[in-house]
């Protein structure tokens, strides 16, 4: 613990709003009680998660060093949660409702990054901040310093209402119905600690969008999404929201369904409260893998869900905050600091020209622009944060937003200030061009710090960014418009489902070694509030992923029709030809001796491993047969995607089921050569050998992937819709990954010298 712990407590006592201060005091007491063994580890785990204090890689005390998994010499202390060492540094997530910050808050973030973290503040894909390598005992001081400037970490993690995100252009956008800022702010504080949110079985993510067509709010991929709309009633314009529920990314993504086409703004808080009450009361609690609200909406259907929500709404006791919090909403608006102006003459300054072209956008208000500040992989240093705070104070009335693309957006910049702002940002290397373009790669933390990471998403993201930046002047405009998003695993924190080209981390065994791979996803749509989700087409070695981007983009430029966007292009040409383009990247992979770099991940020279998964028991099985079966399974799931694209949803769903069976059979054959093609036998053998023994269980989600198989088998012969076929395909792909993981586990983690089977 830092020496200044008591100093901050005393110094900030009068500066912290009462409830936030009490919250931190309580957490501080809980830390002491846990150290004394007076709080159960599971209770403490949930309590710290609800304060934003998350686990980080290696906090279970094990770390693979390139040859073997070793125990880190942590002191023997009470844990922070099951399998979580006390002294292991963790991540602290800091909520930033609607991404809104002021200069003082930026300065405090800088101070905290320097004093408690690694000097970096990280902007997430949900407009939060994250600090890494934080010691739990420093949590209360950090929280006090944040609370003193109006920021909280409360419910940033855990089964709670997470950060309320919103379009960063709110209030200045050309297309919005109205400024959603005050409504997102009101919702964030209304739901924080609300009794109707205390019984959730899983997290709950809200998002606001000012319009339906653009991606800035991503309403369709949230547990609850609000899309601003205006209608005319008795000759007067009335503000309201289209409310959607049950969206989400994660392993099996869902598009949100419409709860109501229009709810007047005064109904926004009570209707959301009713949704929370329904979710809290009826959502799954025991099986966390089926506990998001999307599963309840799936189970009930949107009609029943809607009916229940509106019934509950009528029963709610009126709360004055429903309207009090919105009283000044229509008048609330940010404004400019300086008079409007005109853009500067560039006069041959190519850097300024490129920055204006890529990062500066006209606001709705004449004479003003927004300026995007691109952050490589969402990272910013303390010195840069302070310089940014100065710029925000100098050119605006002290407001700035984080974005879901892991950047900042400065708004209300007078056009006559653009050159000066550019110069100030360039002085601290914050004036990189290419915001929201192909070089602006989004990546979740992945294996750098996340416990669930499989492949290095930041490593790949950084590599792609470097390569694309180097040739950005040569890139076709069509390529520049693409979005690339990378996740370290299937959980989609990097938003890979809604990218033009998405990647998520998987592992494969090649020549007896584990090799980091990425699934390549196509068919996602960033526009239309994340209007459709991509599906995997092929897994390729991590070190070949940049080549995959080259091949895809070259093919796109060569074969696109005039003005054809990438999403439409993929739909027209189909994924088959693109998969064929990438297939060679998987063939004839060089041996470990010839190209050892292929067997490690980006930015991590250690021999790759999927971590601390248990010691193998069944080395020596027939590898080629397994690989043959799995190749067939992967082909089937890919074909299922093609059928779906072609509109043959029934065949798509049935083919995905066949992919399930093929991969289950592949695994069963490792232990039982004579398994037949009879689906019932495959399922029975799989269940007995891998489910009942828990060999197939994932260390984090337990039986989830096996349950996908059983559900698919139980649904044999069902009639598919486009949605259910899409889900079945996504689940089949995840099941295949789980089979690979189980197979790797069975084959153990060989040391490099002994790895060749």
């Amino acid at each position: 613990m830092k020496a200044s712990h008591v100093i901050w407590k005393e110094r900030l006592r009068d500066q912290i709003p009462g409830p936030l201060g009490a919250e931190v005091d309580q957490f501080e007491s809980e830390i002491v009680l846990r150290q004394q063994g007076k709080i159960d580890e599971k209770v403490f785990a949930e309590t710290r998660l609800r304060r934003g204090a998350y686990g980080q890689r290696y906090d279970n005390g094990h770390r693979y060093d390139g040859t073997e998994s070793r125990q880190l010499p942590f002191a023997d202390k009470p844990t922070k949660g099951p399998g979580t060492m006390w002294d292991a540094p963790g991540m602290l997530r800091i909520k930033v409702p609607f991404g809104g910050l002021n200069p003082r808050q930026l300065e405090v973030m800088a101070e905290l990054a320097e004093e408690y973290s690694d000097g970096i503040a990280h902007v997430t894909t949900r407009q939060d901040f994250q600090l890494h390598f934080i010691h739990i005992e420093n949590g209360p001081s950090i929280m006090r310093r944040l609370a003193a400037v109006g920021i909280t970490t409360r419910e940033a993690c855990g089964n709670a209402v997470r950060n309320v995100t919103a379009c960063p252009l709110a209030g200045v956008c050309h297309d919005e119905a109205f400024d959603v800022t005050p409504y997102s702010h009101a919702l964030a504080w209304f739901l924080m600690g609300h009794p109707d949110t205390m019984e959730f079985g899983r997290k709950f993510k809200p998002a606001f969008s000012g319009c339906a067509q653009h991606a800035c709010g991503l309403a369709q991929m949230h547990d609850i999404g609000f899309v601003a709309a205006v209608r005319e009633v008795d000759g007067r314009l009335q503000r309201g929201f289209k409310i959607v529920v049950g969206g989400g990314l994660g392993p099996v993504p869902r598009q949100a369904r419409t709860l109501t086409e229009f709810a007047p703004v005064e109904e926004m808080l009570p209707l959301t409260q009713a949704v929370c009450r329904v979710f809290g009361k009826h959502g799954e609690k025991k099986n966390r893998n089926a506990a998001r609200i999307k599963f309840l909406v799936d189970k009930w259907g949107i009609e029943k869900f809607r009916e229940e929500v509106f019934t509950v709404r009528k029963e709610l006791r009126p709360d004055p905050r429903w309207t009090d919090m919105l009283k000044d909403a229509e008048q609330a608006a940010e404004g400019p600091l300086h008079p409007p102006g005109e853009l500067p003459a560039v006069n041959g300054d190519e850097k300024l020209r490129a920055w204006i072209k890529g990062n500066v956008r006209d606001q709705r208000q004449a004479g003003y622009v927004t300026a995007a500040v691109t952050l490589p992989l969402g990272d910013i240093t303390a010195d840069q944060l302070r310089a940014l705070a100065d710029a925000v104070a100098k050119y605006t009335r002290g407001t700035i937003r984080t974005t879901v693309e892991q950047n900042f957006l400065i708004r209300w910049v007078s056009k006559s200030d653009v050159a000066a702002l550019f110069a100030d940002l360039a002085a601290v290397q914050l004036a990189q061009p290419g915001a929201s373009s192909v070089v602006d790669v989004t990546a979740c933390p992945g294996t750098d710090t996340c416990k669930l990471g499989i492949s290095s998403s930041r490593g790949l993201g950084g590599e792609l960014r470097n390569r694309l930046v180097q040739k950005s002047y040569q890139l076709d405009e069509a390529i520049k418009a693409l979005h690339i998003k990378v996740s370290g695993c299937f959980n989609s924190c990097g938003d890979h489902h809604v990218a033009d080209i998405g990647f998520y981390g998987v592992s494969r065994t090649v020549n007896g070694y584990k090799v980091p791979h990425f699934q390549v996803l196509l068919g996602g749509q960033w526009e239309n509030n994340a209007g459709s989700y991509g599906l995997p087409i092929i897994a390729i070695p991590s070190k070949r992923a940049p080549d995959a981007v080259d091949r895809i983009t070259e093919y796109y430029v060569k074969h696109r029709t005039k003005e054809e966007r990438f999403f439409a292009f993929v739909k027209r040409v189909g994924k088959g030809p693109i998969r064929d383009l990438l297939e060679p990247l998987n063939q004839n992979l060089p041996s470990h001796d010839v190209e050892p770099g292929l067997y490690s991940d980006w930015g991590d020279p250690r021999q790759y491993s999927i971590g601390d998964i248990g010691i193998g028991e069944c080395a020596g099985e027939v590898v080629s047969r397994y690989q043959f079966e799995m190749t067939s399974a992967e082909r089937l799931v890919f074909e299922a995607g093609l059928f779906l694209d072609a509109g043959n949803v029934q065949l798509a769903g049935e083919t995905a089921y066949r992919a399930f069976l093929q991969s289950a059979k592949g695994l069963v054959q490792v232990q039982y050569d004579d398994v037949s093609n009879d689906p019932d036998e495959i399922i029975a053998e799989f269940k007995e050998r891998f489910f009942d023994t828990q060999l197939f269980f994932d260390p984090f989600v337990g039986p989830k992937f096996a349950n996908f198989l059983f559900a698919a088998h139980a649904g044999k012969g069902e009639q598919f819709t486009a949605d259910t076929a899409h889900h079945r395909i996504a689940e089949a792909q995840l099941f295949i990954e789980a089979v690979h993981n189980c197979y790797n586990k069975l084959r153990s983690t060989p040391a490099p010298t002994a790895a060749k089977a």
Binding site: A88, I120, P376, V428, G462, G603
Partner: protein
Amino acid sequence: MELQHFVAKIHADGPLGLDPAKVVDVFHQWVAAQSVPRVVLIDVAELLHVPDGPGVIAVGIEADFALDHTDGVWGVLYRRKNVLPGTNADRVADALETAAQTALRLQEAFPGALKFSRTDFELIVNDRGIAPNTPESYAAAVPEIESALRAVLGHGDFKLTRHDQEPRQRFGVTVKSAKPFELARLAAR
């Protein structure tokens, strides 16, 4: 004034003669071998994509070690994280000596490619709570820091200036020694 959580950074002597990413491998070896006494090393953070940033860090529980590029100046950095017992002089000595040890190890890992200054280093108190960056902190802390440095360097022929006057920065001093110091001697103290 009790000073804790020192950061010591010994500047590189001239431009780096290696790709800083190569340090990642060395730090992984340190973590694997747990080769820093009294520090549990956890992980390696590669942050070279951030301009003028923290570079490459071997992250530990009690302390971090880095090839750092803050302010656009390469150097070997030692950051004490937990509270150290003893006097302020003890903690100044710990910071400088450990930074010197780290510098030596990196020089040995990359013979000829990495050289560190024998005259220039920074000492920063990484805690605004106990040492805000004010003239008062400077006046209160400098006599003790000077005294400690005389003992560590073995002479008093050095110039000490406030690292940064900007009040939002951390309190610290930049030290320029008139007589070159030997890393090996510092490291062996």
